[in-house]
């Protein structure tokens, strides 16, 4: 046993019935450790919130760090931020926030309100800023609005998972190079993400498909989006809408963070109108793209 006087080297209080006391110590240790982690993280978060004052009438967007080739590796963070820019809503970003109470990103604060989930945030902002989310009423039929909801489902509930699989499970080495971390995190994060993604996909149902089937779903989803877009500038016609934010959020990941993958080959090859669409969205809503991403040219 070590001879120093630190807490960890104090001698055991009891001598007799040592197995029981050891087991109790271990159990107690585990309980204490878990309780302290939970306690500290909650208290720390409350402390941070109390001591931060945000400007009035400015949306505070909590999201992940900037990435090398895209403003965010999360399609939902990119979706929400693109929406804010699309409607010229004043906002600021906090890049080291904890996850929302639902364990997800992004989430926003606005004056005294707090909204989680990109979709609910968009609904809240549309109400607060009186925005017609699917283009000015009149230029988009109610049928088209209904259709755009279905398109968002295709992008966020189907295509998104195939891209997540491609990124975190199939092409983890390329992804590691995209991560804004150094050292141990560069290895631990991909492993953890792969596990999380696979588990979520399995729960969702889509994860029960084989690798080939997942890529077939990806290809058919991209084909559907390409056919829907056709020669139009945006998915519903000549004016951008919420569905474009969702679509851009996911397509940007394929365009700029998955080099050499089948996903990239599809978007830049057979379905090139999607690639042109991404460039159009980037030029319109992210003129400062090269300043925002971390890899400077």
């Amino acid at each position: 046993m070590a001879n120093c006087n630190c807490f960890f080297c104090l001698p055991s209080p009891s001598e007799g019935n040592s197995w029981k006391s050891t087991a109790l110590c271990l159990l107690g240790g585990a309980a204490l450790a878990s309780a302290s982690i939970v306690f500290v993280s909650r208290i720390w978060e409350k402390f941070r919130q109390k001591n931060t004052v945000y400007p009035e009438d400015t949306v505070v967007l909590h999201q992940f760090q900037r990435a090398k080739h895209v403003p965010s590796l999360s399609p939902f963070c990119l979706k929400l931020e693109t929406f804010l820019r699309m409607h010229n809503i004043p906002y600021m970003t906090i890049l080291d926030s904890p996850l929302s109470s639902k364990g997800k990103m992004p989430w926003i604060q606005f004056n005294q309100s707090r909204v989680e989930d990109a979709t609910f945030s968009i609904m809240f902002l549309s109400d607060t800023f009186h925005i017609e989310v699917n283009g000015m009423s009149g230029s988009v039929t109610s049928q088209q609005k209904a259709m755009s909801r279905a398109v968002v489902s295709l992008v966020e509930e189907s295509l998104y998972w195939t891209v997540a699989y491609c990124r975190w499970v199939d092409h983890v080495d390329q992804t590691r190079a995209e991560l804004p971390y150094d050292g141990m995190l560069k290895f631990v994060v991909p492993w953890m993400m792969a596990g999380i993604i696979l588990r979520e996909m399995y729960a969702h149902g889509i994860g029960k498909n084989s690798r080939d089937e997942l890529y077939r779903i990806m290809e058919e989803d991209l084909k559907a989006l390409s056919d829907l877009l056709g020669e139009q500038s945006f998915i519903l016609g000549e004016r951008p809408c919420e569905a474009d934010c969702s679509l851009f959020g996911v397509l940007a990941q394929i365009m700029w963070t998955l080099p050499g993958t089948r996903a990239e080959a599809l978007v830049k090859g057979e379905y090139i109108n999607l690639a042109n669409y991404c460039i159009r969205m980037r030029e319109l809503f992210w003129p400062d793209w090269s300043r925002v991403v971390t890899e400077k040219h």
Partner: protein
């Protein structure tokens, strides 16, 4: 050792050394373990366990027992048996069987005690091979049998059909699952036609569904938010359908099988729920649409549901299905 950067590294190194000592102590002479060492070991074990658990995604593959003899070219459809309320309790079973009837593909229904190769139901056996997932089965049969329910559609319209299929199966579906298994669990014995005792043993699947929906993401919303999402989905279908007989026009296409599969469960197995209200009172065109498809493609609906009888085997089938 007193400068700031070195200080942190020094403490970490000391911590690591103490951990090494503690673990060694645990394995050589645990009786001499101090409380401090016990805490350190337990905390590290928890941390490592958490990382390892996170890194391992859940995957399960089921082994399937196939028929010894089969007729080549015949589709053997494995699906859930009928109850009084509906011919099949899974929307994907109604979808697949409706598709087979729309496409005039001969099939033999098998109400048996087995789950498909992906741990899902319905599934089929075809020429001695098992196949899972209703969507992939439909694609396969389209190629195999030269069928195309979407042949009259433009590429853009096929895309719209795909989008609505995804919405109704990947999003709206969870509204039905939540309402049936979580909100309405205490009345499920009626729908499943079993005793309350049997439902007692199926209770763990309620918790498992909640976990599944949490992992999916949709289960993280409050009940009010979730119901709002589902309502918007149903209204979108109703708006898009409008006064048309079928979703894409005058004749049914593949998306109608998928949408009918989901809506039929809402209409006929969830009486009194907000879902039933939406598809009948709020959006009556959805009820008319379902009746239209039922009358055209399920003339034997009443016969199937009246002859429904429950066996113990069926109960195990349910519990296997819902242990997703």
């Amino acid at each position: 050792m007193s400068e700031s950067p070195g200080h942190v590294q020094g403490s970490l190194a000391a911590l690591y050394e103490s951990l090494q000592t503690s673990v060694l102590q645990l394995f050589t002479d645990p009786t001499q373990l101090s409380p401090g060492q016990a805490v350190l070991v337990a905390a590290s074990a928890l941390f490592v366990g958490a990382v390892v658990w996170t890194c391992c995604g859940g995957q399960r593959w089921t082994k399937v027992k196939l028929r010894a003899e089969f007729t080549p070219g015949m589709v053997y459809l494995h699906t859930l048996p009928a109850v009084k309320a509906i011919p099949c309790l899974t929307p994907f079973g109604i979808k697949l069987e409706t598709y087979l009837r729309m496409a005039d593909i001969p099939y033999e229904p098998m109400y048996g005690r087995s789950i498909g190769p992906k741990g899902k139901v319905p599934w089929i056996e075809y020429n001695g091979e098992a196949m899972g997932d209703s969507g992939l089965i439909m694609e396969f049969l389209n190629r195999e049998k030269g069928v195309d329910l979407n042949r009259s559609l433009s590429d853009a319209d096929k895309a719209v059909g795909r989008a609505f299929t995804k919405m109704v199966e990947e999003n709206t579906y969870w509204g039905m699952a939540w309402n049936r298994w979580i909100d309405n669990f205490d009345n499920l014995h009626d729908l499943f036609e079993v005793s309350k005792t049997v439902m007692f043993f199926l209770r763990p699947f309620k918790g498992r569904l909640q976990q599944t929906m949490w992992a999916h993401g949709i289960g993280r919303h409050s009940k009010v938010d979730l119901e709002g999402i589902i309502e918007k989905d149903l209204r979108a279908i109703s708006t898009f359908l409008g006064t048309k007989p079928y979703l894409m026009g005058d004749e049914p296409t593949e998306v109608d099988a998928a949408v009918f599969g989901q809506l039929s469960e809402l209409l006929w197995t969830l009486p009194g729920s907000y879902l039933h209200r939406i598809v009948t009172v709020d959006c009556p065109n959805l009820q008319a649409y379902c009746s239209r498809i039922k009358d055209r493609y399920w003339p034997d609906w009443d016969q199937l549901t009246k002859n429904a009888k429950k066996t113990k085997e069926d109960m195990s089938l349910y519990s296997e299905i819902f242990s997703m």
